[in-house]
Each structure stands twice: as C-alpha cells, then as structure tokens.
Symmetry: C2
Subunit: 242 residues, 2 copies
C-alpha cells in the first residue's frame, strides 16, 4: 500500500498530531484523561504504531501529553502561556505583534570588537562587527534601547535598507543562518544618565537589563545584544524546563 506523503504532501504523523491537538483543544479528550492506546490510534488512523508514536512524541515534547509506562498516554493540563512566552521572547526584539511597536535606528556602524563582544561572538578581539543601535517604542512610548553586534565577516552585506524592510533575523536566514536559540543574562539595574535621557525617564529608575547571544541552528553566534528595558513597564516571561 502506497501510504507515503499522502493528503497533499502532508505526512501522516503531522496530520495525526494536529488531529489530536484539535481534539484536545475541543475537549474531546479532557485534562488528565487517557488517550486511546497507541494500538487503537494506529488502527483508527490506519498507520503503524511507530507513526502514532512519532505524532505523540512531539505533543509530549510540547507538554500537551505525557506518558506512563504500562498505563497509558494522558492529556496534561495545558498552561497556555508557554508557547506564547517562547515566541514573545524570541521575537520581541525584532518586530513584535500584539501592541503597536516600532523601532528607530539610532546608529549603524562597523567597529572592532572588544574583548567581551568578541568572546560572545566567538571571533578574535579586534575583528570587525556591525553595531545596530535602536530605540524601540510600544504605543509611541520608548521602552527599550537595543545595542546589537553582528560579526562583519558573516554579514558584510548588511545595509540600513535591510533593517527597514525586514527584521534582523529574516536577514540572517536569507544569508543561511537559521536562528535557533539564544542565551540571555538578565539583571536589574538603575538607568544611567544616557539611557535615562533616551527613554525620557529619571536617572536611577529601574531598568531590566539583558545581555543576549543569539545562535543559529549550527551553533554559530550571529548576534550579541545589550538591551535596556524600562522597568516600570517592561516585564519578561520565560519558560524553564526539566
């Protein structure tokens, strides 16, 4: 039986996964309830058990389901925030949705990397980096100063125009670097005079400070950013696992 890549090129395990997701969302399977066994699902969807397992594996990874050896597969209690938080935090730097955000470019220039930036980007001290400094607004209130550094060697073709028509990460992807993960160091600080002036707040106001390194799929650091967020407005939500 020719079962490969049926239904307009959608793999069966994707179809099953989305069907299960929908049934859970629609309450056909409820919180804590047991799903049909893998065997039963295999029969229902007319696939092998391994294919069912592949579907389920991804939902377990997301935390929507969990398994108990010798007992069954169950619907976990969904905490809606999770997916949302991931995306929010990962894309907020470059064109968030939700509220009316915009960014103004303060500076863009090439300069030699200092010790810290070089270390973060895994390049030599003194190697060229592109600095992209922006001020970001939510509903026309300045909330964040972004100061990003990008290895010149990898993205020497970056132009100001790119930043106007697309976000940085899309640009990275177009150059063969798929953004995959980031590591952030977060601190509470007080606004320096510079930062306070830019955001029109008082010197010493609380600032949520972040240093972030962004990595592509193959582990290459593509961006290192200093980020100053207005403490009285900005909060950060992150999910931790295991």
């Amino acid at each position: 039986m020719a079962n490969y890549t049926r239904l307009e090129g959608i793999p069966m395990y994707v179809w099953i996964r989305e069907d299960l997701r929908r049934e859970i969302r629609d309450g056909i399977y409820k919180r804590g309830e047991k799903l049909p066994s893998e065997q039963e699902l295999a029969i229902k969807y007319r696939v092998s058990r391994m294919t069912v397992r592949q579907s389920i594996a991804e939902l377990i990874d997301e935390g929507l389901l969990f398994r108990r050896h010798g007992v069954g597969t169950f619907v976990a209690i969904p905490h809606l925030e999770r997916d949302h938080t991931r995306l929010t935090n990962f894309f907020d730097a470059e064109g968030g949705e939700g509220s009316a955000t915009r960014a103004s470019l303060l500076a863009m220039k090439v300069l030699p990397a200092g010790q810290k930036i070089a270390r973060a980007l895994d390049i030599a001290k003194g190697d060229s980096v592109i600095e992209v400094k922006t001020l970001r607004y939510a509903d026309d209130v300045p909330i964040t100063v972004h100061d990003a550094y990008i290895p010149h060697k990898l993205f020497s073709n970056l132009q100001k125009e790119h930043l106007e028509t697309q976000n940085l990460w899309s640009f990275f992807e177009r150059n063969g670097f798929r953004v995959k993960r980031a590591i952030q160091k977060i601190e509470a600080r007080q606004a320096t005079k510079d930062i306070a002036n830019m955001m029109k707040i008082k010197e010493g106001s609380p600032i949520l400070y972040k240093e972030r390194t962004v990595y592509s799929e193959n582990g290459t650091p593509v961006e290192f950013t200093y980020c100053y967020n207005r403490g009285d407005i900005y909060s950060l939500t992150v999910a931790l696992e295991r």
Copy 2:
C-alpha cells in the same frame, strides 16, 4: 537475532547516543563536521536505521547535532552554557551547588489563597495554601527573599522538618508530582522598605523580581513563588529556543 535490551539493560539507542556524545566530546567528530550517514551508523552499531535515528533525535533536541535534508548530519558548535543555565535556573531556588548557599526559614503557615495565588495554582479563591517564606544567602550575604505558596490540598503533610532535610521539589516528587517546568515573569523593581530591611540594603536599590509558577509533569501547578533578588549581585541566565 535477540537484540532487545542488550548490555545490562541499556537500550541500544541510549548506548549509541552516549557513544556519539563521547566521540564528539573527544573531538573524533569536530564542530561543523559531518557525521557518518544514518545507514553507515546502522551498520557500525549493527542496528536498524530507525534506531540510529532515535539516538540522533535526542542529540538534535539538545542542540549537539543538526540535520540537513539531503546533505547529512552535522556537529553543532557547542555552547556549554545551555545545559548549565537550565539546571542552574531550575534548581537554584532549592539548594544550589557551586557557591556556599543556605536558606533560613522565615515563616511557614497555612492561609487562604487570594485571587492571584488561586489563579496561578488553579484552585478556588480562599482555598488553603501553605506559605513558605525563606531568606537565602550566598556566602552568608542575604541575596534573595523567597515567598512560596503551595496548595494545601495536595501537600497537607508538609512539615517544617521536610524543609530542613530536603528541598521542596524532592518533597513534591515523593508525593507523586514530578516537577517538569516553570514559568517565570521577571521585572526590575526597587526595594521596598520591608525587602530592604531583610536583605540589609538601601530602600530603592534595584531588585530583580520574579513571579514563578512551577508545574509537575501532568501540568498541575504545584508552587507559586514571589522572589526578590538583590540586583547588584544576582543575575539570571535563561536559554530560549526556536
């Protein structure tokens, strides 16, 4: 051929996974280098290709490898921080390692849940919760005030003695709730008089403020915590994905 659960009960895919991990660590496969094809690995380890794929899948999940359809499987550049950050952040609340930390119990009492805590713990407003308030020190300097709330219904057997001999999460596990993930909201604030007094800092000093909900494997919220960290000492590192 009876190949199931060979080698002292260690599944083959675990064995292969760890073997690959070791070879990568030892530099037999280097950063960015291509691994042997799945077919070749299957022959090498005398298993089916599906088993090899299972091994590789977990290493990809960890970010140690990445795949390119039609090209091959490659070693990603490791960024050591990642695993470290996860663990650090997930366990720092209850007995970290590394530096000389200790916690003193400020209060433990049962009280009715307010709106916010009830919502976070998915219980009714007014339901009993156990408050566990601690002051945590690193090298005898107070750095964090923890204020945790736990559903009384689930953990009515919690005693002060438990907190002295084990951390909260071990206690949860012993009661059938395996801690799996947490969601944290992070803000920069200024120390109130209360908090400042407890940590012996000036009122208005920067505070890294967290609200955290901890979930067990099945999605049940088991703990909601307010957390005030000294901004000048404490920083938080988190990894974000995709």
